[in-house]
């Protein structure tokens, strides 16, 4: 059994390609995947930056072709006609697929490294697969390890700690100046989208009042309605400045709209209460010398972008620590998969032992002519001998299968105990342990069953 992942993402396909593969309703697609003979289990992850199918298969090559055809014919029929459609798709098999999925869930592979949405999107994909009965025990285990890995990465690294958008950097900055926002008033100069995005995060922290000043009062009224504030014309700026702890500007003007004398006058009226001014305008809306005034902290869009870029760089550095965690978790999962492979062999070994014991016991008892009590005694003895003989190899097999060397040991066990030899004693029970059917037995197994065997 192999995990196979086929997909495309922002790393391989431009947005105009990605949008053609976007899955609006994953239900029918999942149903189709679940019906494919080559695929045992399937999950379909679809976000604005990636579309990936994660499947479990016994025939990786056939599954690979099936998935490529699925991407071309089912997800984006119009794109499949393009001659170079295939080059946008990537494939990962086995450990690489596991590693990739863990990176995706941990937001290490995201366009904005450390972004929080992807984990929720992967969880949603998993829930949908469960809803459409497209998922079984192995992919369930894989995804649950992916979620645990993502949590570990967030907890143990700084991958998600620093803000990487201008709006979030503005909020972080405000938090370094102000202790709380519930008694703070904000003034928005301008009524554009940028300013709305920036104030939205602050409003969530409980800004007590928002005032919007704009050249066109009607636009100010629109934004004021959306952010729950009041609308004003630009002529009110001096009076509004006196009451504002936080000033955000983003207005289309060739000359600064706020200069040092105006801000100094407002500060005087505020009796020195500090003021944070964030100038998102280009050209700048606030004269740079405003920052020279005591108790005023002026940041323009370049300052914020610089901070956002530095934070993004810091996050990228944290991905090295995240990769180490992902490697550990990948090894753990592969150990679990290997242990699954031991399940049929261990059952086979025990069944073979039992068959040999039963046959030899029967033969012996016929010749010895024992009483019923004596027969029971010999039977118990024979069971104990077989169990004791098998205990060491079975325990060792379970332990060694945590790493790759265990696979070789598994093969050795099959040879040493002649499990694949039809002429060996007790081979008549082998039909139910046909190696070709090992996968089925594995699929039945869960975490507990692996430990219980």
């Amino acid at each position: 059994m192999k995990v196979l992942l086929v997909g495309l993402s922002h790393r391989t396909a431009p947005v105009e390609v990605r949008e053609r593969f976007a899955v609006e309703d994953p239900g029918p697609a999942l149903t189709k995947l679940a019906r494919c003979d080559e695929l045992e289990e399937a999950v379909l992850i679809s976000t604005c930056n990636r579309v990936e199918a994660v499947v479990l298969t016994r025939t990786p090559e056939a599954a690979r072709l099936r998935l490529r055809s699925f991407f071309g014919r089912d997800l984006a029929p119009d794109a499949s006609d393009a001659p170079d459609f295939d080059r946008f798709l990537y494939e990962y098999t086995g450990g690489m697929a596991v590693h990739h999925l863990f990176r995706v869930a941990s937001a290490v592979d995201s366009m904005v490294v450390g972004e929080p949405q992807i984990l929720g999107q992967v969880k949603q994909a998993y829930r949908l697969a469960a809803e459409y009965n497209a998922i079984g025990p192995i992919l369930s285990r894989l995804f649950s390890r992916a979620f645990a890995t993502a949590k570990r990465v967030r907890r143990e690294t700084g991958i998600a700690e620093r803000s990487v958008s201008v709006a979030r950097v503005a909020v972080d900055l405000a938090r370094q100046v102000f202790e709380r926002f519930t008694d703070k008033e904000a003034l928005l100069v301008g009524a554009g989208e940028m300013i709305e995005l920036s104030v939205e995060a602050l409003r969530r922290d409980g800004l007590s009042a928002v005032r919007v000043a704009n050249r066109t009062v009607a636009h100010a009224e629109e934004l004021a309605r959306r952010v729950g504030g009041s609308a004003h014309g630009l002529e009110d700026l001096p009076a509004l400045m006196e009451r504002s702890d936080l000033v955000l500007t983003c207005i289309d003007r060739l000359r600064p709209i706020l200069d040092a004398p105006l801000v100094a006058q407002a500060l005087h009226a505020r009796r020195g209460r500090r003021m944070l001014v964030i100038d998102l305008g280009v050209p700048r809306n606030v004269a740079p010398d405003v920052n020279e005034l005591a108790d005023v902290y002026l940041y323009d869009v370049d300052d914020l972008q610089e901070a956002a870029a530095a934070n993004a760089e810091e996050r990228r550095r944290e991905t090295l620590r995240a990769e180490a965690i992902i490697n550990q978790e990948q090894q753990r999962f592969e150990g679990w998969m290997s242990a699954l492979e031991a399940v049929p062999t261990i059952r086979h070994l025990r069944a073979r032992g039992e068959a040999v014991r039963a046959r030899e016991l029967e033969r012996g008892l016929r010749r010895l002519g024992l009483t019923a009590d004596q027969r029971r005694g010999v039977e118990v003895l024979s069971r104990a001998i077989v169990n004791k003989l098998l205990h060491a190899p079975v325990t060792r097999l379970r332990a060694e299968l945590e790493d790759e060397s265990g696979i070789a040991l598994l093969e050795t066990a099959r040879v040493l105990f002649a499990l694949d030899d039809a002429s060996a004693p007790g081979a008549e029970i082998d039909a139910e342990f046909d190696p070709g059917q090992n996968g089925d037995a594995s699929l039945e197994a869960t975490d507990d069953s692996v430990d219980d065997v």
Partner: protein
């Protein structure tokens, strides 16, 4: 008892190191660990100070090392109380090392015999030391908050903007103000009880000793600072700078003059 002071000093040092690492890495969880270690240090420091009375011979509270131990303990307790209301974990980078230095100094000098002239002066010496130590402790925290405010203010003004787990300027300014509001009245009461103590001992309120002179100057400095601050004539930056300067002056007036004497 001295060993307990040494243990408290070690814990304060540990808290300081954890707090610095928490800011430098940055790792906010280390800041929380540092607060826990500081609290543990205070739990050991409080009985260590109380046992000074049971030492053989008993160490009077009027001894400079004992008074410095009390100041450090009160400063730590005041900081921990502030933490309940304000996000101040980052201030530990200054509070913990300051507490360590105070307790370390006390532990080094506690074995020296006390000044016999203080014996038998009634309750005024105790009242003076407790009140003045509380005043010094609170004003010391005001100075530390002022120092961090100045550092943070400079960082934000020069746009060296990093998401460090340090308190906001507003929080530091509030702590500075609250510590001044509590510390100055306590210092005033400490000075008054000191005058009454001197009166009881020598029959006059002023003997002209270096300790009296420097502490009177320190009180006058804080009187000016408190007037300017509460009358609203001072911005937060100049208030922070003034509280740092005044705290350094007071440190010299209390510890420096005491050691030199």
């Amino acid at each position: 008892m001295i060993e307990m002071h040494q243990l408290a000093a070690a814990l304060y040092l540990g808290a300081g190191i954890a707090a610095w690492l928490g800011v430098a890495l940055p790792a906010p969880q280390l800041g929380r660990v540092a607060v826990g270690v500081l609290g543990l240090g205070a739990l050991i420091h409080a009985p260590a100070f109380a046992f000074l009375h049971n030492a053989e011979p008993p160490i009077p509270i009027t001894d400079l090392p004992a008074a410095v131990s009390l100041m450090s303990l009160l400063a730590v307790l005041f900081y921990l109380a502030l933490l309940l209301r304000v996000r101040l974990t980052g201030l530990l980078v200054l509070v913990a090392p300051a507490a360590f230095l105070g307790v370390f100094f006390a532990a080094l000098r506690l074995s020296d015999p006390g000044d016999p002239s203080f014996a038998g002066a009634g309750s005024w010496p105790h009242a003076h030391v407790v009140l003045a130590s509380a005043g010094f402790a609170f004003l010391g925290v005001a100075g530390l908050a002022g120092l961090l405010f100045l550092t943070e203010n400079r960082r934000l003004k020069t746009k060296k903007f990093l998401s460090l787990p340090l308190p906001s300027l507003e929080a530091l300014d509030r702590v500075n103000l609250a510590a001044l509001a509590l510390g100055f009245p306590l210092l005033t009461l400490g000075v008054l009880t000191g005058v009454l103590w001197v009166q009881t001992e020598s029959g006059r309120p002023w003997t002209g000793s270096a300790h009296e002179l420097w502490n009177a100057l320190g009180w006058a400095l804080y009187a000016g600072l408190a007037t300017a601050r509460f009358a609203g004539h001072q911005g937060s930056r100049s208030a922070a700078a003034a509280s740092v300067g005044a705290a350094l002056f007071l440190l010299f007036a209390v510890v420096g003059v005491g050691v030199l004497a």
